[in-house]
């Protein structure tokens, strides 16, 4: 490995060092504020280190990881998401009487897993990254909200068991693919189809679908989505937010890279399976959210739908028309989804009190009259998730549309339209609830919020609006950075 290749892994190394430092700190001196500051510092350093790293790209650092501009973009996105998420976690935990500074350690490990995922072009690093992301998540999901609070444990067990099953599927799928292609690196699968008899190879297809199922589980795509609402609801808010944003975003970046490098779009049955999953996810996600009164569950279902939309962009990849538009669409949509979802979670965290989390629609009743700014934030988040113009979500959805139109995916497009229509209902329902005349439950925001969570909320609102009104800079950045994967 060359020095440049090692240097290109600088963000990962910095995060690992911060994690080690945090372990030592917690071992000797337990202080929530200090741990938070250290974790934030590590994340910031890692983000800043992307700048010098950009100078030495692309680098194949060991056979497992590739640092190209695609990885750079998604590393940046992951780190920005983490930086926005961590203050929300802090806001949550500093209200608790129990000391939970290990949460930040687990958080850092999960971010490392995500960084490995977005830079992976090898099945081994895929599995490593995925487990590095998932195992801390299991623990984070299981964090009791307060002593003797069991739903989070139930959620953790559910996640552990089902996630284990999904990992097993993924591993089995990888083994079958390896059996076929003889390599664990992501490589075009097409030559293999010619080498073996028959137009389609059942073993390879089974392997691909098994691997896809493993990934689809983590992305909570139908029919592997059943865990999502229960785990979202049971987990403490910071863990739910991490699960919904960072984990899924990084994994989708990996899925896109795998799909492109293995030229999966040439394998008809795989495309069919993806189409089915996309349609089912869009419909089921939005229909399940329709009359949902629990906001955490609502966001869980909504994420199912959103990853269905993202799959549509994936389907728009084809040999004839190239991949640029689809990659752009996925990237932009992911940014939109991450920011909007984070904004929604930010409001929930801010509304939660010491003894209970704000998670029902009832908690939002009349929010406009109690907390106009929080209500505005949540309104923007909902509008953005629904894809209403002048928010970032609209631009993202427009991208998906454009990509699908370009590829003439009319059936899928029709489902996108129907699902978006259904989606509008429950997003607007939340907004309607907030404008309710009677004030609803008394203000829960007992202690003044930490300045960092204020800042995060402000940044999210600004980004949601700014990139919705003036998306050009972000588009240019994405175009510039995601070209490498083609």
């Amino acid at each position: 490995m060359t020095a440049d290749a090692l240097f290109s892994l600088l963000p990962l190394i910095l995060l690992a060092l911060t994690a080690v430092g945090l372990v030592l700190l917690i071992g000797f001196y337990r202080n929530l504020q200090l741990s938070f500051a250290l974790a934030m510092g590590g994340l910031l350093l890692a983000l800043v280190s992307l700048l010098p790293v950009a100078g030495v790209l692309p680098q194949q650092a060991t056979p497992l990881l590739i640092m190209d501009s695609y990885a750079l973009f998604f590393s940046g996105l992951t780190l920005v998401t983490a930086l926005l998420l961590l203050p929300l976690c802090h806001e949550h935990w500093r209200r608790q009487t129990s000391l939970n500074d290990e949460f930040y350690l687990l958080f850092l490990l999960a971010v490392m897993g995500a960084l490995v995922l977005v830079a992976s072009n090898h099945f081994v690093s895929l599995f490593l990254g995925l487990e590095l992301l998932s195992l801390p998540l299991v623990i984070m999901v299981g964090y009791p909200f307060k002593p003797g609070f069991t739903p989070s444990l139930e959620a953790a067990v559910k996640y552990l068991v089902l996630s284990g099953a999904a990992s097993a599927m993924l591993l089995f799928g990888i083994a079958l693919i390896y059996l076929h292609s003889g390599t664990l690196a992501f490589a075009p699968l097409e030559p293999g189809l010619i080498r073996l008899p028959g137009p389609q190879n059942p073993l390879l297809l089974t392997g691909l679908i098994l691997a896809l199922a493993g990934i689809a589980f983590k992305l909570s795509l139908v029919p592997f989505h059943f865990w999502t609402p229960d785990v979202y609801q049971g987990a403490p808010l910071p863990a739910t937010a991490l699960l919904a944003t960072l984990a899924k975003g990084a994994l989708f970046a990996l899925l896109l890279r795998f799909y492109l490098l293995s030229e999966g779009y040439l394998i008809g049955p795989l495309v069919w399976a993806l189409t089915l999953i996309a349609i089912a996810s869009m419909l089921a996600g939005n229909l399940l959210a329709l009359l949902q009164d629990n906001l955490k569950r609502l966001l869980a279902y909504s994420s199912i739908g959103h990853f269905g939309y993202l799959l549509v962009a994936l389907l728009a990849v084809s040999q004839s028309l190239g991949t640029a538009l689809a990659v752009e669409a996925v990237s932009y949509y992911l940014v939109a989804y991450l920011f909007s979802t984070l904004a929604a979670f930010a409001v929930l965290v801010r509304l939660s009190g010491e003894d209970r989390e704000a998670e029902t629609l009832e908690d939002c009743r009349g929010l406009f009259w109690r907390h106009p700014w929080l209500a505005t934030t949540l309104t923007l988040a909902m509008l953005s998730l629904a894809g209403i113009p002048l928010t970032i979500g609209f631009v993202g959805k427009f991208y998906i549309f454009a990509a699908a139109v370009e590829e003439s995916l009319w059936l899928v497009l029709l489902v996108v339209v129907i699902a978006s229509g259904i989606g509008l209902f429950y997003y607007l329902r939340v907004i309607l609830m907030m404008t309710h005349q009677d004030a609803g439950p008394e203000s829960d925001e007992a202690s003044a919020p930490h300045w960092s969570s204020h800042t995060v909320t402000g940044i999210l609102v600004a980004a949601t609006l700014w990139f919705g009104v003036y998306p050009a800079p972000l588009i240019t950045l994405i175009r510039h950075l995601t070209l490498a994967v083609n």
Partner: protein, 610 residues
């Protein structure tokens, strides 16, 4: 000086925007200075322009292109000729006087700033309407004044009745506006342009006299005019519009906006000349309206409603004038009417203020000694309204009657009867309010004297204008076709005599021998006639019975039609699917694991088998 033409609508508009943006945070004095000052400045510019204007010429000012679609290229362009100059002077001049009056009248109102914001916006829109060189810009002003009328009728929105009156005015005028819009579409289709002068010069070349298309266009424009000017059959919104503050009634619902229909017809008179049938209809509508409104005014007890009906009836005279071809006389009557009706409304406003918002004339009486100034103003105004000799109303109404005589004896007879009615109801008002026993004593106004003084000052100016306005000569030659009518002496004598008879009858029945009137009303037939008059001809009832009720019935019957089935069906389907899917989320791990396995098996099976 002509270059400053654009400033005339721009000044009130700017002041209005400023007042809207400051949201009532300015002190009263500043609001008044802005609201009245901007209009005053606009009026000054208008008079300066008029002083230097070479009569008989025209002037166009192109500000910028609005949009361009093919040959339809409307611009923000103003067009000044004799006709628009007259309107310009009336709107800014009378507008300024009424604004000045309102700055005192509305002084105690908490929404002082909102009032002037709306009034200035109205004036800007009205000036755009008057100055527009194309029908689209005119339509913008047309709708603008409609909006401001709505805002000002419902100015005291806390009372739901005022809101209802505002809605009624808006909806009913909208009926006419729709007709007008269709007329504009037709003109665009035929001529490809809405430039007024181009349309008017092209129309006689393309259409022969009495052609169907010309008649259709003229009728559609008449529809718009009828709605805006409260003529039959769209007249019933104006009496209710009196719910607004009295200066609003004076400015919008007497002097300026309601005469916009007259202006529209005069502006597009070439079209009406091509369609004699439509022009005759204008005259017939005018006569019917003036009779009905004059008759209705007889039985009203609310002082403002009497004046409202008299406005409808006087605009009827203007329509009659346009219909029989006395174009200039119609516009002349518009001008004098603006003077004396503003005078009457503002005097009524002062009276209402002095009597603590008492508007019922039955509660008034014997006021001529207590309020001599108002009595004088009312006397002048009523004399003009009744067209008593030597007043301005006489000079403007006489040529209308003369031309009607030339045109058709029936129209003349109607107009003559109307003149008698006018004298009767206006002097009924005089006698009931100012003579007889004192009912409610007037109270002095609680207002700073410098502000209070504005009201009598404005009244005096308007009274002078009303008295001597008949001596004005309007620069309409060359713009509107000139007509000369020389009816026999006898006809003219009758025209002078009938109003005097009306005054005598009023004196007889309301002052000298009121018991005769009571006797007269004992008959069943006359009682019914009185109710008919009180309800303004029963149009509200008619529309309610034959339009509103069937419409509501239709809407109710049509509630569950096929279109609803689709939307409800999809909602129901979504709900059902949601419930079905929600069943799968039962929280049981084993169930989740099996479903995942099943799904995987299905996907693999599909993938391998296809």
């Amino acid at each position: 000086m002509l270059k400053l033409l654009w400033l005339i609508p721009a000044l009130p508009l700017a002041s209005s925007l400023l007042l809207i943006l400051t949201q009532g945070r300015l002190p009263r004095a500043a609001v008044a200075a802005l609201g009245v000052g901007s209009v005053g400045l606009a009026a000054l510019i208008a008079f300066a322009i008029a002083a230097g204007f070479d009569m008989g010429t025209t002037y166009s000012q192109h500000l910028w292109q609005w949009f361009a679609i093919g040959s339809l290229q409307p611009g923000f362009s103003f067009y000044l000729d004799g006709l628009s100059l007259v309107m310009l002077l009336v709107v800014t001049g009378v507008g300024f006087l009424i604004h000045l009056y309102a700055s005192a009248y509305m002084h105690p109102d908490p929404d002082y700033s909102r009032f002037f914001a709306s009034m200035n916006l109205f004036l800007a829109a009205m000036l755009v309407l008057v100055l527009a060189d194309n029908l689209l810009l005119l339509y913008l002003g047309w709708e603008g004044v409609g909006l401001c009328s709505y805002l000002l009728i419902g100015f005291w929105y806390q009372d739901p009745a005022n809101g209802a009156a505002a809605r009624k005015a808006f909806v009913i005028t909208r009926v006419g506006d729709t007709a007008m819009a269709i007329g504009l579409f037709l003109l665009v289709r035929e001529f490809g342009t809405l430039d007024i002068q181009q349309v008017l010069s092209a129309a006689p070349e393309r259409w022969p006299d009495g052609s169907t298309l010309a008649t259709a266009c003229a009728l559609l424009l008449l529809g718009g005019a009828v709605g805006k000017s409260a003529q039959l059959p769209l007249q019933n919104w104006l009496p209710d519009a009196m719910a607004g503050p009295t200066p609003v009634s004076a400015l919008i619902h007497a002097a300026t906006m309601v005469t916009a229909g007259v202006y529209l017809i005069a502006r597009t008179h070439d079209l009406f000349l091509l369609a004699p049938a439509a022009q005759t209809l204008v005259a017939v509508v005018g006569v019917l309206t003036l009779l009905l409104a004059g008759y209705s005014a007889l039985a009203q007890t609310d002082i403002k409603r009497i004046l409202a009906y008299s406005t409808i009836s006087q605009i009827g005279y203007m329509f009659l004038a346009l219909g029989v071809g006395a174009w200039s006389a119609g516009i002349f009557h518009l001008v004098t009417h603006a003077f004396f009706k503003a005078l009457l409304f503002l005097s009524a406003g002062s009276l209402i203020l002095a009597l603590h918002h008492q508007q019922d004339i039955r509660a008034m009486g014997g006021l001529y000694r207590r309020t001599p100034l108002l009595f004088g103003c009312f006397l002048v105004g009523s004399a003009c309204l009744a067209a008593l000799p030597l007043t301005s109303g006489f000079f403007s109404k006489e040529p209308i009657l003369a031309q009607a005589w030339e045109s058709s004896a029936l129209l003349w007879l109607g107009a003559l009867l109307g003149a008698g009615l006018t004298a009767l109801y206006s002097f009924r008002l005089m006698f009931v309010v100012f003579f007889g026993p004192l009912q409610t004593p007037p109270q002095p106004l609680d207002m700073p004297p410098t502000i209070k003084a504005r009201m009598p000052a404005v009244l005096l100016v308007l009274a002078l204008l009303s008295l001597f306005g008949g001596a004005l000569s309007l620069p309409l030659d060359g713009v509107l076709p000139a007509t000369e009518a020389h009816p026999p002496m006898l006809v003219e004598a009758v025209g002078i005599g009938v109003p005097l008879l009306g005054v005598y009858l009023a004196y007889h029945f309301y002052l000298a021998r009121p018991e005769r009137l009571t006797q007269l009303l004992k008959f069943r037939g006359s009682r019914r006639l009185q109710i008919l008059a009180q309800s303004g001809g029963g149009f509200d009832w008619l529309y309610d019975r034959f339009l509103r009720t069937p419409f509501i019935w239709l809407a109710k019957t049509n509630r569950d039609d096929a279109a609803d089935l689709i939307s409800r069906g999809t909602a129901g389907l979504s709900r059902y699917s949601h419930q079905l899917l929600a069943e799968t989320q039962n929280g049981q791990l084993r169930w989740y694991a099996s479903l995942m396995g099943l799904g995987l098996a299905f996907l693999i099976g599909m993938g391998v088998l296809t």
